[in-house]
Subunit: 363 residues, 4 copies
């Protein structure tokens, strides 16, 4: 249980360090006969990769996915799909200045204490570079879910104190277009412009800022999720919290719902053709008792500001002596624009896993 | 992976329906030679049981824990500890009015759709009664953690829009006393009085309200947690989100942290005797890179208002026809006072599991 | 991974010591809407319980199964099925003579060294009494498999050097009748008579003897099993080897097959109606590449002689001093007659688990 | 649970098809600070690779292991170790003759039925080529076990009806030398010569033959193994049965033990310096109650004859029509000489996993 696997039936295991030879993933449990569209996988990776715009890190990584197994003549065979992504930018010298220092609010100190050794280059295993492997695996999951008519949409709904208004989510495909029309990946263009301006200012100050991502999942059958511990939202929450920098998760009404009265919060069923297919409101976020109820799944994820700032900070070194440290090169001033696709990937992995569990009982 | 187990090395599996013969739990993986204090287990169950005060449900359950195995001459033997809690209040007639109806924002509909059958009495398996088994298991975990000097403290920090001020957490034992001095289990007496007054008013209106619980875990070694998916906060988040009615989880700075700048948010190390034992601030919530850093673990959990209200609500029945439904008897107007001990139990189970994982590598 | 659970999707967790309050099991993952025939469960337990005949132990246990959860109005609900079996014969005084002694070829010594404490009464957790819980769970699995037309048949094919001839297995139901017509549970009546005579003689000598059980599983779809580690025969093998006293497992041609030539051993396909539904021979034991091929699954399990003999044996005590020990009361002179139903139960659990896995991909 | 992972705490996941781009493995849970000797890993792979001698297949594969992650400056870092082994001999044309045919006693038919698609080239995923990944992972496990003074030795003890006499196992290092001194890997030189002669004759006849491998594990602490399902021998048995072509497993006295009397079979303790460190005999195979007892672990594994023979065999094709098939090129006439190192690898993986479990309780 060393922690590098996620999922039970649709299970991924990732490997790789920021500046090692490669990162990658094995996807075990992907059903056979799924069309594996390699261009799609690459397009997903491209949404996460560094160097996309002025508000992301300028590290150069082309992030080319190599499928090593599990695909035959364009289709999944039901055997493990291994995807390897070579690291190109392995300039270890860039990181000599942090070899013996613990960067504030990074994992340097905790890794060193846990393992007694660490690959300090670029954060090693604790680097968010690992999430490229998740995105590749998530792309496979999305290809599987597509066959079941399941859609996932995430966008940047908040940066710092800026918050996008609620979206009309009736057409998720259109929202993707809106989101991809700007570099901050907020589907509300007006807010997007403000966010970009704000992040750029932050970046020029050598500082960083946190943000929030909102997600909608549509098209699930009723009953996905496994009581009582593997509730659908509990697994979604764990998935989101496992992403670097995430500090909070809420679904449906979330924290705001905890301020409400039951008479306001209850979602009243609407009968259609003798079936309960909808509710008037969706404070439940599409989940009741841990099981999908057929409504949109909605949740929100909070990301802390990136810890690497371009300013001098006091810190300590391995010997316990006080010293100072400063970020070098260019880092992400705000992580959420690139994290949108990671959020979608992890959501897809959770849903794929639960869909297989749902099918196992063959209702 | 039917979902009724939690944890890997310190693993629990719960069973039981609200109005079946019993609920209970098997704890597999509890180390041997732990003193099993049955009075302590019972006192923990007593904090969760119904009928404690005017602001909790009046259902009568004495919740007596019977240890069936795994304990010999007062000590754990390393074999599975089975704990059974017989149900006393099995009056099925109380629930005939919901046999064919789906209660709004309850799990009736989703369970029926998933399984094609459900024990409708009191919500069956989806009832929060299941959490008594978690509390019993959590008590075993606490007895284990006590041997390692680990403390866990939770209290009600918010009810509706009422919010307790930040506590001085230097003495957790004293905070437990303060918390237990009032029926809402808020460690700030002034706020507690307001909360009780507010909940009682809500109850008289036949309504319910949500709330929030804040938790502190103290005394962990540095390095608990397993990158990259089984981060300590990811497992804590899943644990919390698996509790009935929880809609949100945040640790450290949480959602508020996503509005901050990196220069404000970074926790600067303090060197003491040549070791990095503390940070000036704790926006990280005691966790960096998914691993405990030796500071207090802090997190917050949001609970939606209880779905059963004492008012008529529109709903539908199994045939899809519109009907109305109303809560009967007395239910909890607010779940957080009883949930405090559930939060502590789940936190204890996560920490126990991660402590065994930590030990497995025998550093 | 403390080892008291078996299976992934159809998962059981057992608890209980030989002379504790109870033993029992939670079955998690049993599909909903299965008819739970309690009489059948009890009849299975009766086949394993002690005191059945002159060639089994005379310990008195009625082994009454109490279903505590997961069944509603006679059907499984998809939630955990907890079954508790109270221990009646808890006369601890019988075991004071072994409190400080390690019985040869028993688990006393290894449990004491592993856990630093043990419930020495009747072997505690290491007692084969634990297998009653497996039989109860296996009965549930059989009820599930019955709906899929899957049959399992095991019988005693060898005791000491006595070996039954190969059976005509065309009618498994008839073979069950033949097996149950004698107390040694061998479906060949002539060999059964010899076995009974032999075991009774062994018993009178205060000695014990080993034996072998042969099993046939019929009616599986093609493709059960999960390459490459969870091959169907690998999971069957683990299941069998987890039963007390089992020292060997082979499937299909087994050890004898390792002496054969490929030209003799290959199973040639027979085409019927344009499909490969049978092979001329079945040295493969119904499994190719770890997956069921539609032929009968066949395997054989070897049990060592019971370690408790009614004779003085040299041994040592906890202080390391030499001493002697002798069995008291009456123990099984040969374990296989009662183990037949345990073998069937474990086989049923493996197949149920793999059937759910098979269904998860919804072919 | 798609079956491509093995182990819990020391867990491997393999990938790759016989004629795809590569095969490989992720090892998750290897403790940090283990010296990773790449030459040793390669020397282990060399013992398994094809083309070693006249009695093995002539396929050309250099089987070069590439470590992609988890190792820094020669030591394990506690993060996943990914090892990739590119396939060199990808001549797909060799396999066009089996594209539409199901080879007898191979996995072609069952894979096709399970997945509806298969990479037919060289058996695809069902090829024993996958075991190279196991050998690489096993080498890592051995490096870990070496630090704990644990030794594993396997050799070919039987081929067809030839059987080596019992060995003097007092010096396992010397036995390795004896084993490696001949191409059949039997540590008894006289029997080895007979085996080689026999296999070569079989090969010339275009036939194949089965065999047996015997294993000794030395140096375990007392108490490895987890009752009641994850008994040490149950996990060893599953590990062995998961190897291609294995049809049987027995430990200690095995099948022969099932013919013995308890008075013969019991292992009497010998007290040394006030501790029970040895038993006079070792019919228990070093395991009592599923836990190691400090004596040598001994077990034996039976391999069926290789299914690919150089003769015409009747079979059927995908349309269900009768046809004939014949092996092409050169295949292994007997699998056991190359399987010795696979057996050792799987044994090492089981022990490494159980050692971490053992350590988790920090006795």
């Amino acid at each position: 249980m060393a922690g590098n696997s996620f999922g039970d039936l649709f299970r991924i295991t990732t490997y790789g360090e920021s500046h090692g030879k490669a990162i990658g993933v094995i996807i075990d449990g992907c059903p056979s006969q799924i069309d594996i569209d390699e261009d799609f996988i690459q397009s997903e990776l491209d949404k996460r990769k560094p160097g996309q715009s002025k508000i992301t890190t300028q590290r150069k990584e082309s992030d080319i996915a190599q499928i090593l197994s599990g695909v035959f003549e364009g289709k999944s065979t039901g055997t493990p799909i291994a995807i390897n992504i070579p690291n190109e930018d392995q300039r270890s010298k860039d990181y000599s200045h942090i070899k013996d220092k613990f960067r504030p609010s990074h994992a340097d100190y905790t890794y060193q204490m846990k393992y007694g050794i660490r690959d300090y280059r670029g954060g090693g295993r604790s680097s968010a570079r690992e999430t490229a492997a998740r995105v590749a695996a998530g792309a496979i999951a999305k290809l599987f879910l597509k066959q079941h008519g399941i859609e996932i949409f995430a966008h940047v709904s908040g940066v710092g104190q800026l918050e996008a208004p609620n979206l009309d989510v009736s057409d998720l495909t259109e929202l993707v277009s809106l989101r991809e029309s700007n570099i901050v990946r907020c589907a509300d263009p007006a807010t997007a412009a403000e966010m970009i301006e704000f992040i750029d200012q932050i970046r020029k100050n050598g500082d960083t800022v946190g943000g929030r991502i909102s997600t909608v999942i549509r098209g699930l059958p009723v009953g996905l999720g496994e009581p009582v511990f593997d509730k659908l939202h509990a697994d979604l929450g764990k998935a989101m919290l496992s992403i670097n920098a995430v500090h909070g998760f809420e679904y449906g009404s979330g924290f705001a719902g905890s301020e409400m009265l039951g008479s306001e919060h209850n979602d009243i069923f609407i009968a259609e053709e003798g079936k309960a297919t909808r509710t008037k409101t969706n404070f439940s976020g599409g989940i009741q008792g841990g099981l999908s109820n057929g409504m949109d799944i909605t949740f929100r994820t909070a990301f802390k500001p990136v810890a690497t700032i371009m300013r001098d900070q006091a810190t300590i070194d391995e010997s316990g002596s006080e010293t100072t440290i400063s970020g070098k090169g260019r880092h992400d001033p705000c992580v959420v624009p690139r994290a949108v696709i990671i959020v979608e990937a992890m959501a897809a992995l959770v849903i794929a896993d639960h869909l297989l569990k749902y099918q196992s009982n063959a209702r």
